[in-house]
Symmetry: C2
Subunit: 569 residues, 2 copies
């Protein structure tokens, strides 16, 4: 990477003026002792303190690009002016359609600097899905990567195409340069300050396993506080190097685009989840942190390039609980798991499973069992609790379940790290906020130590012989079988028990041949394994070996699709 950095020249318009001033306009009437919280401000401080530090590296492309904090801040300023010149007004939505790249990192600051709302679009969606999002969000402008223009077809919305080169001649670079010209060197002081810290920040559409995606609108105040929470929980600092494995379009990258800049860390963007490349950076680029769902972590530890690391890397894991096996495999390679939990509606992570000093004396399996729990409210989050499910629609009274580790209820959140609203959907917003809390839809128990543990999404719970069987708990136990790489469990209709669990299993490559023509024997073995660990009603009745599992664009297993398969059996 070092040689590439030395060989890269940012465009002329990316170079800040020699007398650059990182202070925003002084707004008459703004009190001296209050300033609206806004995560975009982090770039002003980082650029002021560490102008020459590497902020953003994009090395693994035909035209690698590397930006110091000083240069990156200028590009962000240029973007803000370019957006304003293009007619973007406060509160307007700007769609961004790109894999991880400098452009989407720019947007998380530049769009906010223009007082507009970032609308990141998942690049794995289909054209009709993208079309729905563009229409529903009312996006006024699209920033799109050259490789994904097919997603938008012949849209009427003004579009800036990025060739991801960082060089003059790239239309996105032209757009930035025009912004610099339009600014007439008025600099940061020429941009209006957003006075409302509750103004919209990011509009993310949930990948929703069923129905139309919903637009989750977050606020500036929440983004500021969530980003600080993530920086603190991850212990990010100016020595950190963060590798973008998680797509930045996913829940605003869990606020890490801002958390990293708050910490004055270095960020490396990769266009795709490429395991050998991840290992190249782990081994050679000083990576200290990354985020990813367990399914990505499984890919990382099982890549042939995987080897013990010279120093510890922190893996922030969310989306599902990491298994004992995964935690063990990560640790063997020098990767420390931090298990967090949250939803797009909670700016990504808002709880963390805090490891306790006395866990050090436990076995890996004991420790992993404790670590698989979703935890407690993290640094800047206010409240996460588990309440009894309402008896009926009108039942709005919230009663906490006892902290007995057994009684199942729904996880509710409150506080600054809860979204502003579902965009243009007051009915869904009202429903989600019933009783003055956000309803996560996740079912959980509350342990005596105050830790919350998800038993399932409400719709994934299996009612087997009148008992509630958590598909998640079953998956955790089954995954301890040494031949299993990945497993998903759903409920299947059963004449006697109502429902019974069915397991879909991907075998580890090295064990595939053994069971190749012997699926029944494997099923029998796995059911035996389950019986030693689970109550009878939670043991799978059926086991099916598969080559892959259906997943959403963000790596979550699509149980809806598995249910469709089962319905046809």
């Amino acid at each position: 990477m070092q040689a590439d950095i030395a060989g890269f020249q940012p465009t002329r318009e990316s170079i800040p003026p020699p007398n650059v001033n990182y202070q925003q306009k002084t707004v008459p009437g703004l009190p001296p002792n209050a300033h609206p919280l806004n995560p975009f401000h982090f770039i002003l401080r980082a650029a002021s303190v560490y102008p020459d530090k590497l902020a953003l590296a994009h090395p693994d492309v035909k035209h690698p690009a590397f930006y110091t904090y000083g240069v990156w801040a200028q590009r962000i300023q240029n973007l803000a002016y370019a957006l304003i010149q293009a007619g973007i007004r406060p509160g307007d939505r700007v769609a961004v359609i790109t894999p991880n790249s400098p452009m989407i990192a720019d947007a998380h600051f530049g769009v906010l600097a223009a007082r507009a709302i970032v609308t990141p679009v998942n690049t794995r969606l289909t054209p009709p899905e993208v079309s729905y999002i563009l229409e529903h969000s009312g996006s006024k402008l699209i920033l799109i990567d050259r490789d994904f223009t097919h997603l938008i077809g012949n849209t009427n919305i003004p579009t800036i195409v990025c060739h991801d080169t960082g060089r003059a001649g790239d239309p996105y670079e032209g757009f930035l340069s025009a912004g610099r010209e339009f600014s007439a060197e008025k600099g940061w002081a020429g941009l209006d300050v957003e006075l409302d810290e509750n103004a919209g920040a990011v509009l993310c559409y949930t990948s929703g396993t069923t129905g139309r995606p919903k637009g989750v609108l977050t606020a500036l105040r929440g983004s500021y506080l969530a980003a600080i929470g993530n920086a603190v929980e991850g212990q990010l600092n100016r020595e950190s190097t963060y590798l973008w494995v998680l797509p930045m379009f996913h829940a605003a990258g869990w606020t890490y685009p801002w958390a990293n800049v708050f910490a004055c860390a270095t960020q490396i963007t990769m266009r795709s989840v490429d395991y050998p490349l991840i290992w190249k950076h782990f081994l050679n680029s000083g990576v200290t942190h990354y985020c990813g769902a367990p399914t990505v972590q499984i890919g990382i530890v099982n890549d042939p390039a995987a080897r013990p690391l010279p120093r510890t890397i922190s893996a922030v894991i969310a989306g599902a609980a990491p298994t004992a096996q995964l935690i063990g495999q990560l640790e063997q390679r020098g990767i420390k798991s931090v298990h967090v939990y949250g939803l797009t509606e909670t700016y990504g992570p808002c709880t963390r499973c805090y490891d306790q000093p006395h866990w050090k004396t436990l076995t890996l399996e004991q420790r992993a069992k404790l670590m698989a729990r979703q935890g407690q409210s993290f640094a800047t989050a206010q409240e996460a609790r588990v309440v009894y499910l309402p008896e009926n629609e009108d039942d709005q009274e919230l009663r906490d379940v006892p902290k007995d580790g057994r009684t199942v209820g729904e996880i509710l959140m409150r506080g600054n790290i809860v979204m502003k609203e579902y965009f243009r959907d007051p009915e869904a917003t009202r429903k989600a906020f019933q009783g003055g809390h956000f309803h996560s839809g996740d079912l959980a128990v509350w342990h005596p130590d105050g830790v919350i543990q998800i038993v399932d999404r409400s719709k994934d719970l299996i009612i087997s012989g009148g008992e509630n069987a958590s598909s998640l708990a079953i998956e955790l136990e089954l995954s301890s079988h040494p031949h299993i790489l990945e497993v998903s469990v759903i409920g299947r209709t059963h004449p006697k028990w109502g429902e019974r669990p069915m397991a879909f299993v991907i075998l580890r490559q090295e064990h595939e041949s053994k069971w190749k023509d012997n699926h029944d024997a494997f099923a029998a073995e796995l059911i035996r394994h389950a019986r030693t660990r689970l109550p009878g009603f939670a043991c799978p009745e059926w086991v099916q070996i598969v080559v892959e599992l259906p997943k959403t664009s963000t790596g979550k297993i699509l149980k809806t699709n598995l249910r469709k398969i089962v319905a046809k059996l």
Copy 2:
């Protein structure tokens, strides 16, 4: 400390109930996605996540006391209820008069939990000064340490005396226990939530080198954000152990009472600045962080117990710039200096001198010169700038001085880390907030790298032959003389030049004898030393060797007193 911990039993009422719940009341009407920022909340999270972790240790007294987060939180809750039972209502002031001890740590949370305002009183003041503060603040209740009751005489204000034992029979313990009884186990949910994040948090009286002390009232929002800023800048985390060298009554302990709890760190309180004791803790108690003015740091490095430490300790230094010699001496012992700057009006530190990667190649003296600067706005602070001094009273236009490292102006701050007001002094508040910024009264230059450097308090500037000579800059240069322990420079009337600098010097013990009967020779030598480093108008005309320097109760040198001495010469 370990044996003491094992031998300590908190009072029965300090033990939380087995089913303790750390959630506050759900307030009807409070939106699901916003919660007023309040640093008191940090204790709820820390106690929920690490109930059994050592939170607060008070080991160096006849009756040592040690509190886990779980027990401490219960004591804080008891205090809140006890205050309410004693008639304390939202916005009331509660005076706390004690050296560093658990009581004042309790107060920073318990008083806020009762929605009242902490008024810490400097224990080094005289009875008339304390009387003025109690009257001006309108304190409704006094929490006072047994050793300081002489400061309040026969006050009419209800008073709780603490014997600092942590044992049953201590009146303060009785007060806490009564709070537990009054709460009737309603717990945290029985306390009203403060809905206004701009409500008062702490009322600190400045030790003011001239005139009546002013009451600096800070807000909850600012306290929350400043504490997070300090935790982040100090890299405090759950592995940290913070030693209370700084008095907690000084600017709310620079918000560290909250910063440490935000980080889930351990705090050790010491009743006085006792250098051998400090070294005992450095060497045996796992201390990782402490704060103190340079004068205290000088005492630490020069103590006979000083020796190289097995692992690095962070010293957060403010109040004056550390000299090259001090930074070097600290480093020799394994203590890393973090130079920050601020005032009581900015919640303590609000800027930091960030060391840069390329400084590693510099000599200690070069590096120390750069590090002695006051720096740039820190994590959660908004803006610190240097503007031209107003030409007259009505001149309110703020114009930044050029970043040339030469032009002198005044440091101004804006944002969340600026006090709410001067309590009951609208005229002083108006004056301090002219032009929508807080006027620090500190004169500074702005360097090309964006770093602010104080040249002097406006009243300490020496006008020598029409030139502005910074007493601070002169002190920094004189202190490089190897025989000098501490030095202070003021302006003295001069028939020809108007003013000329006069230096008051404390010699290092090992050099005292050499100059004992030869003050004139030392003066000549020091003036020669100065001529090689300073312009003529800034060289001291007079040098006086003294045994000690007059200081405020918080360790700042009282130049007013030096001026009085000079006036009589």
